[in-house]
Symmetry: C2
Subunit: 369 residues, 2 copies
DNA sequence: TTGTAAGCGTTATCAA
DNA sequence: TTGATAACGCTTACAA
């Protein structure tokens, strides 16, 4: 139900035409406050920023006028004058994915505590959209621009480099860039995470492995985990690993479908041997497969082992728990926020060379592997 | 792993002291472009906004200079000069809750398509924090400010009213305000949604009902659904309804705990009759209770019926499906975005009086009721 | 078709 | 301790 029948019309053009020529109330400015207090704008500005430099009596008058006028400082004017912005812009692939929403929550919490504000855009896993958004967000002159991952269009990279050399902090998050990073990055190595998955399954004695990749074409990190998975498996004698791709639909449903399909391929005439263990690009896929296995009365992990990625709450709550890789979703956001705050306080740019064990993915073994 | 060892230092103070006094590159401005093109800033500005008013030859030169300088328009300056902002600010209780992250996704998608940008804050379900955030966000002079729900501190309301009368659109979302709304609102009536839950359970023949409220103290909408639930039950002969409160922990775990506790209360000496049906403040709680019932081999809905709220994807995927109320999480965000876009195009402020059936919660009966 | 001048609301700087 | 003035980067309004 949408409704907005009453209240003050926001648009003066909507006022009854016969009404008094009551001027549209403006937002009050420093000048309004100053006039009311009988001082100049500078005195009010000073009171706001360095009250100790204002005489106590004046301060009182200004304070009253501030309240009276309901003054709210205009940030655009402030930023224009100082050149310093308290805004941080972030681009993530998808806000609704719990993986990124938690990162944003971590980022937002940390930044807010430090007096920053968050301008958010979601690229819907499209590098094209990301490029447009980088351009649009840079127009705000943000203190920092946070992007997800290290895959960008060439033009995006040009924009980011230019912004960085003009003083904007640029951070790539969720990913671990190679040996010669152009930008600061806070995340982990997804190839290594994929290898971790494979090694765990192998250690448990499974030999026929499948990595179920994300159905999202531009989910580069999931693809990289698949690469790491296959490489790690290939490094071992007697291990067979393949990659299949989940559907692009809702991930739990896609996970159900993948299990169904893999089982189907193992029956019929050209009977291939069934895989013994499945590693998934994310926990939602794993949950879907687990639900499907339940429905089919397939015992997990005896008949098939399942390993998720992400450690979403549900994996810990399902009976016995689904084994998974705990990805530092929230911690990455926090770390980015803290790093940005540290830079503002003038920490040297390169002080982030420390490794943080908090951001390393960790295997959480539960009942499904 | 955090690392940022290489790349261009962002802070000129970090440059090797012996280096050439290479000036920190600034972001290029209109003036830079104009100089390069041999015209004035106005010509460049015109080219950017009304290219048809610029002579073709001049336009070419300007275009080249634009590329050459890597110009990105400064939004603060633009907004200050025009007084029109393309920014929309939104405050939600929690970004990580799938309920709100989907609303934000809907809002963000719609706004972006219309050329708006989204400034986001999360209040962590605190009215105090919300008040601070309203103040902070209004400083950006947003085109519109979107808040969640209709519960705000008196000071918040004052700020919102002042902003509204100064021309900022104010929208309350997720809630259906009473008969005399101060602000536009896009959402639904949570008391009615609670009543819908009760009536459904009663229609299925259950007589001993429990509403499991959210453990979050300031989740007013969940509380209101509880009120509606109890009222609707009280209006029927022979129906007993009570409200219990879930724990404040992770909601799936809290849902498990609630079921456990309710069953415990029904055993032992002072044996109370067990409830026949449980309605939950959200689907995660319901999923938790369902998982717990599975573990205890309690048959659902025969021994106990479960009804969720939200229609999160998981409820449709669990075997047979969990009955729930489909809340228009994504649609609310879209509707808000569309409403804002319509206002920009000069639609009369009160054109939103239409009811939208898309935003009404709908009961989805599956296997658990 | 292009340019000049003034101003948006704030802060830095210097003077009183 | 306070004030005058000149920016910040852009757009509006008007002039050429």
């Amino acid at each position: 139900m949408i409704s907005s029948s009453l209240g003050t019309p926001a648009n003066p053009a909507e006022e009854k035409s016969g009404a008094q020529p009551q001027p549209q109330p403006r937002r009050s400015t420093l000048a309004d406050v100053a006039r009311h207090a009988g001082v100049t704008t500078m005195t009010v500005s000073r009171f706001l920023r360095t009250p100790e430099q204002v005489a106590p009596l004046t301060a009182q008058r200004v304070e009253v006028s501030l309240k009276h006028t309901g003054y709210v400082a205009n940030k655009q004017a402030g930023i224009l004058a100082t050149g310093h912005s308290s805004m941080v812009a972030a681009i993530i692939p998808n806000i609704a994915h719990s993986i990124f929403s938690e990162t944003i929550q971590g980022l937002s919490d940390t930044l807010e505590a430090q007096g920053f504000e968050l301008l958010l855009a979601s690229s819907d896993y499209s590098l094209e959209r990301e490029q447009k958004q980088i351009r649009a967000l840079l127009g705000w002159n943000p203190f920092a621009l946070v992007v997800t991952g290290r895959h960008h269009t060439p033009d995006s990279i040009r924009l980011l480099l230019a912004a960085q050399s003009a003083g904007t902090l640029v951070v790539e998050m969720w990913d671990q860039t190679g040996s010669r990073p152009e930008f600061a990055h806070i995340g982990f190595d997804h190839t290594a995470a994929g290898a971790l998955m494979a090694r765990h399954l192998i250690a448990q004695g499974y030999t026929r492995l499948v990595y179920v990749d994300s159905g999202v074409a531009e989910d580069f990190r999931a693809h990289e985990r698949g690469v790491g998975f296959v490489q790690a498996a290939a490094a071992q004698q007697g291990i067979k690993a393949q990659v299949v791709r989940a559907g692009a639909s809702e991930p739990i449903a896609a996970g159900r479908a993948v299990l169904q399909k893999l089982l189907g391929a193992g029956s019929g005439k050209a009977k291939k041997p069934l895989p013994q263990a499945l590693a998934f690009a994310n926990d939602h896929l794993a949950v879907g497969a687990w639900l499907q296995a339940q429905d089919l009365r397939i015992s997990v992990p005896e008949q098939i082992a399942l390993l998720g990625f992400g450690d979403f709450p549900i994996t810990g709550q399902i009976s016995g728990g689904i084994s998974t890789i705990a990805a530092p979703r929230f911690a990455i956001g926090q770390a980015v926020g803290r790093w940005i705050a540290r830079q503002k306080k003038g920490a040297p740019w390169a002080d982030g060379v420390t490794a943080s064990p908090l951001l390393e993915p960790v295997l959480v073994q539960r009942r499904t592997t």
